[in-house]
Symmetry: C2
Subunit: 376 residues, 2 copies
């Protein structure tokens, strides 16, 4: 499995974005966040975990991106297709790249688009952003979602990476019986499941959530406690593991020791809800259409929250399967379907799978879930 992308992939991405820039009259795009920078440059590192340094990539209206980055990243950036790399010895308290960035932007020209909509932020100090605006005199405006829209439609090469990490996670899920059992603390199960993901080929495991409890679990964002798994517990593991910079995001449910009729039928109902969502996934459908198809199946369409989302270089990205999201599906979009049920226990049960929109419908990327709730 080869890593990275051919230069043509980046050229195609940039061309698509620049077409949007032309339409909106943007002279430059200023990118500061990891996935946006990586999307146009190929710059892949876990060093973003350190908040110390800002990183900037500017996409002009014509030509290749320009990197304005801390010197510690120069060698790695030089391995990408980016030729124009300007560095400063960050961190420099008095001027942490601001005047270098300002000079570069003045040279390239504005107006400067910045991703400013839902799900985005500007990864640079606010004080420095104010100085940048003063120093350049350029107009800084929103990017009209150009970058997010480009990222939403995956190339075949991107799909291969998402398929790879979904297959890795599928193999790890198939081994959960090795690690989870009555008496094993949930926190231990979390650690061991991350180990399985690494053994099966994940580069790293940025995200793991889950829960366990009798006929359901609480919310799905809490860290694992040391409470041991008990007979009759439902165990859910939901992972966002990464291969070559691309995420999977799906979950699997297991019954510990034995499954109650309640749990078994809830599981079937979740699979049916996901199937109802899948039937709607095709070019021309909207995100809210898929939401509605699932919300009807899981019961109360008035209270159902987000039932899925886009996926790719981030754990969640782009569209949301909610009542309010009218994004139209197009081939190449990768979407998770994530129906959830309120259980009689007062807890919840959630199922999630990954799909890609094709010319005629949708194809499941995550390995098929067992048709019956598996017992471990």
């Amino acid at each position: 499995m080869s890593r990275g992308f051919a230069r043509a992939e980046y050229e195609a991405r940039v061309q698509r974005i620049q077409t949007g820039m032309d339409r909106h009259g943007l002279g430059a795009l200023l990118l500061t966040c990891e996935p946006d920078v990586r999307y146009v440059s190929g710059f892949l590192t876990r060093f973003w975990e350190s908040p110390t340094r800002p990183w900037f990539v500017i996409l002009p209206a014509r030509g290749a991106p320009v990197a304005v980055i801390p010197s510690i990243g120069a060698a790695l950036m030089a391995t990408t297709w980016i030729a124009d790399i300007r560095t400063w010895p960050a961190p420099v308290p008095d001027d942490d790249g601001v005047s270098l960035l300002a000079g570069t932007l003045r040279e390239i020209g504005g107006p400067v688009g910045i991703p400013s909509h839902l799900e985005t932020h500007l990864r640079m100090p606010l004080d420095d952003f104010h100085r940048l605006k003063e120093m350049t005199g350029l107009a800084f405006i929103h990017d009209h979602g150009i970058l997010a829209n480009a990222r939403a439609v995956k190339s075949p090469a991107e799909l291969t990476k998402i398929e790879t990490i979904c297959a890795i996670a599928g193999r790890a899920f198939a081994r959960v019986n090795e690690i989870a059992d009555e008496g094993v603390p949930l926190s231990q199960t979390f650690r061991d499941f991350q180990r399985l993901l690494l053994e099966e080929g994940a580069d790293w495991v940025p995200y793991l959530a889950g829960g366990a409890g009798p006929d359901g679990y609480g919310d799905v964002i809490s860290p694992a406690t040391d409470a041991p798994l008990a007979p009759g517990d439902l165990l859910m593991l939901d992972t966002g593991a990464v291969y070559d910079g691309y995420f999977c995001d799906f979950d699997r449910n297991f019954a510990v020791g034995a499954a109650s009729e309640t749990a078994k039928s809830a599981y079937k109902r979740l699979l049916a809800a996901a199937e109802a969502g899948r039937e709607v996934l095709c070019p021309g459908s909207r995100a809210c259409d898929a939401w509605r198809a699932m919300a009807r199946q899981v019961g109360d369409a008035d209270t159902a929250g987000r039932l899925g989302h886009g996926l790719g270089m981030q754990l969640t990205e782009g569209l949301s399967l909610t009542e309010a999201d009218t994004t139209v599906l197009t081939p190449g979009m990768v979407v998770t379907l994530e129906p959830g049920l309120d259980m009689p226990s007062g807890r919840i049960m959630v199922h999630e799978d990954v799909f890609v929109i094709t010319e005629t419908g949708a194809r499941q990327i995550s390995p098929p879930a067992p048709s019956d709730l598996p017992i471990i």
Copy 2:
């Protein structure tokens, strides 16, 4: 090992921050980033990996923080000491918490401080920040570094967590001979080392960097390639693993098969440089003093970059050991010393350990490094 902190810990943090707010006349602090939110609230989740939803915690000039968060986080936030929790069903495209946040801020009053200095950013859409300013009519100004300064000095309970994760990483480093050997791809070594960290008790492994090569490695931020380890290679692994929300950050070097005299003496020189830095670590010394002591040892003080940094809830946080950073060290600060050498091979070699400033000097938190370059 207990998780979380007693309520008194949060009350003490908030009191310290509010003293700073009084001094600078701030009516509220607006916090949007994971570590800042967690520092005052105790809200711990890996769900921040999803960029979809913004999260807000407001610290008034008096009293406990107020959470303005997506409803998906309400149950987890309710387990913290925060009582005033206001939610909206994010993501809502038209108004993703902005009017709820604006109303809360108007109620609490300004001026509103926001961390705006080096190393910070505002984690919310720029468009929404503009709307927030318009809707509230309040003054939004920088926070004068109040929050970062509070976080810089660790409590005994925080130190225990950093000590725990450093010990975990130490045990994993002691097992590197189990996973790294001639012929093993570096990418495999990276995956396996993350597995060791999990086996030894890390909750997760947000960061792993490293390198391998004859008498040194290239930059230390590139992802691992599939190139196999070769006899005579220097292998370096540098990890930021997490226990209960606190990071370690240190590295270890190994020679594969045999160590050259060059590598052995460079290793000794790095240990000596770290020792020179440690001798300067004491209350009243400045970050630049420790930098200078190490820069002299590793040679060219004109070209040495950052040779260490603060550590805690983030992989790197707070002060930088650079020529320009005049931060005065105080007891409770946790600092890494990270001297690096340019090797005759044209590559580099780096060593890193973790220290806490005490009343009289500094105490090493990371387990002692071998006094001679270990051979695996």
